[in-house]
């Protein structure tokens, strides 16, 4: 199925949780919603699931408006951040819940429901936990139960709210790979919320970066990393070095770095130049950069430079000649991306 969101708006008091948000998710995609806390990720998920309601805008699933469709009829699987398992039911009953509450005509037989629940638990790799209660199993296992429960209703769309948030690093890493694999095998369409950029970039087909209830950019992980559309996206994804500059006549110039001018399409006025640490080149000196320290441990040497009144970290390519502390060197900023500061 495909999901289409158009101009969703929702306010909590004076703050806009969704501020004219539009997004389309094609069938089969694994999309990550990435953003700082308070950017509206969870609200968006809840609005799509039908647990919250936008004040304006449209939600369509396969072209069908969800406007008057209540949560229970949307057929959307939602995995809650804290799993929201039913504590008084066994794992198997939790998974079977969505089938047991169906109207009699659509409900499979009791034996079929049991078989389906066991089959899903086996698929999750926790078949042996069927008769346990949620409080008797670990966090990672609860996560899988919550997922199995959501999948039992054969959802057209799977939503996951910070699915790995409460798990330790090692479990998280394994579950990531496993979940991505499951998505592909079952032919799901999934949206998952995260504030962890590595998680988003590693797992998703596309990543939507949210800020203050708006989508700043939706793109594949590599394009998002290589071509961020604005300074927020650039700085949110990966390490960034930020230098102030001024654009005039189609070139950016830096205050304390003479002889560097970069052509740009940016509007005239104050601007920001952003680079990844490995995109800064070190030129033979003397120049505007002053070498503060050199850390050669690890594959890429990490150099700290005093440049234009601030400390800048630079990653040199493997095997590059190391500068000496105290040296004065030139810098190559030609790979900088220039964004208007306004």
């Amino acid at each position: 199925m495909s999901l289409e969101l158009r101009d969703l708006r929702k306010k909590f008091g004076p703050t806009a949780a969704l501020n004219g948000l539009s997004l389309s998710v094609p069938r089969g995609e694994f999309l990550a919603l990435l953003g700082p806390s308070g950017s509206g990720k969870t609200t968006l998920l809840r609005v799509v699931a039908g647990l919250e309601f936008a004040e304006s805008g449209a939600i369509e699933i396969d072209g069908r408006s969800m406007r008057d469709v209540p949560a229970r009829k949307r057929g959307i699987g939602l995995v809650f951040q804290h799993y929201a398992l039913f504590r008084h039911m066994t794992v198997a009953r939790n998974v079977a819940f969505g089938l047991e509450v169906r109207p009699r005509r659509e409900r499979p037989s009791a034996a079929a429901i049991r078989a389906r629940a066991n089959e899903l638990l086996d698929l999750m790799g926790i078949g042996e936990l069927a008769q346990r209660y949620p409080e008797q199993i670990s966090g990672g296992q609860r996560q899988r139960v919550a997922l199995a429960r959501a999948l039992a209703i054969e959802p057209s769309l799977l939503l996951l709210d910070e699915p790995f948030g409460a798990l330790d690093a090692k479990v998280r890493k394994n579950l990531r790979i496993w979940l991505r694999d499951l998505h592909d095998r079952m032919g799901l369409t999934s949206i998952f919320v995260t504030h962890d950029q590595n998680e988003a970039l590693e797992m998703a087909d596309r990543v939507a970066v949210l800020q203050a209830g708006r989508i700043e950019q939706v793109d594949t992980p590599d394009r998002l990393y290589a071509e961020p559309v604005n300074a927020f996206v650039h700085e949110f994804l990966g390490e960034s070095v930020r230098l102030d500059c001024v654009v005039a006549d189609g070139v950016a110039r830096f205050h304390n770095i003479p002889d560097v001018c970069l052509p740009t399409g940016c509007a005239a006025g104050p601007a920001i130049a952003l680079l990844r640490p490995h995109e800064i080149g070190l030129l033979p000196g003397p120049g505007p950069a002053h070498v503060e320290s050199v850390h050669a441990a690890g594959p890429m040497p990490r150099i700290r430079l005093a440049l234009a009144g601030r400390i800048v970290e630079v990653l040199l390519p493997e095997g590059a000649a190391l500068p000496m502390v105290g040296q004065s060197r030139g810098v190559d900023l030609s790979r900088a991306r220039i964004y208007s500061a306004a």
Partner: protein, 272 residues
């Protein structure tokens, strides 16, 4: 007797000692005096004093009305507790304090007010007379009084548990296709089950022991609307201390057995 594991909180011996002393002084000692008293009648004397038709009728009314009142208070209290916890409405703070009123009110005052309300010429009683329903001076009056005094127990026991109910479990049920009724029946009520039982037990215990509010509205006709606690007082006034104690012990034992059963049931509920 020892702790299964070493605890981070020290003072097990001291606190257990204090607890036992306290229970002995305040609870066990008076009860022991009560239990020892009737034996001067001899076994057959006790049996005789307890199987009088008037005594049996009083016990039946006390326990029957208390159980029925508790059974009515559980759904009623659930409704009130749910509304108080889940909704915000003007006057909520006021309503919240009103719930506790039956606890604070001297029970005699409650009894007199209820009687005035439900007497054939009272505000509510006058409305019920044309329907052929008499509340005051009948067993129905006993029931009304016991509902009145038992309600706050159920409400106050349920409220903190409803506050702690995870809202996301209900939301999860909704996304899985459950109707509101199914969510209530399959998700909310099972989670509240043990507390509902505990509330029933508390309201029942209160109802069995209730005296002040009941005697005014009940009319106290022997064999019809006379409750066991009143009969105890009557025997005391006749200086039949052993007979009063015998009835007291009977009430005590019955209540204890019922509460024990409820406790058992509750534990089984919590486990499943």
């Amino acid at each position: 007797m020892r702790l299964a594991r070493r605890s981070v909180l020290p003072g097990f011996g001291l606190t257990l000692g204090l607890t036992l002393t306290w229970i002995s002084l305040i609870v066990l000692l008076p009860l022991a005096a009560l239990v020892l008293r009737p034996w001067e009648l001899g076994i057959s004397g006790i049996w005789h004093s307890l199987t009088e038709p008037r005594v049996l009728a009083a016990l039946r009314l006390s326990f029957g009305a208390a159980a029925l009142a508790a059974a009515i208070n559980v759904p009623l209290g659930l409704l009130i507790a749910w509304v108080m916890v889940r909704y915000r409405f003007p006057g909520r703070g006021l309503a919240d304090s009103v719930i506790d009123m039956p606890l604070a009110l001297p029970t005699a005052v409650a009894g007199i007010s209820l009687t005035a309300l439900f007497a054939p010429k009272g505000w509510i009683g006058a409305l019920l007379v044309p329907l052929g329903i008499k509340v005051a001076y009948t067993p129905l009056g006993v029931l009304v009084a016991l509902i009145f005094v038992g309600l706050p127990f159920v409400v106050r026991m349920l409220e903190p548990v409803i506050v702690d109910l995870p809202a996301d479990a209900e939301e999860a049920a909704a996304t899985l296709g459950a109707t509101r009724l199914q969510t209530l029946w399959r998700v909310v009520l099972p989670a509240l089950g043990p507390t509902l039982l505990a509330g029933f037990g508390a309201a029942l215990a209160r109802g069995v022991g209730e005296y002040g509010s009941v005697i005014f509205i009940a009319g106290n006709m022997p064999m019809v609307s006379e409750i066991a606690p009143l009969l105890i007082v009557i025997r005391l006034e006749q200086l039949d201390y052993a007979g009063a104690a015998a009835l007291g012990v009977a009430t005590l034992v019955l209540s204890f057995v019922i509460l024990l059963l409820i406790n058992r049931l509750q534990r089984r509920f919590a486990r499943s």
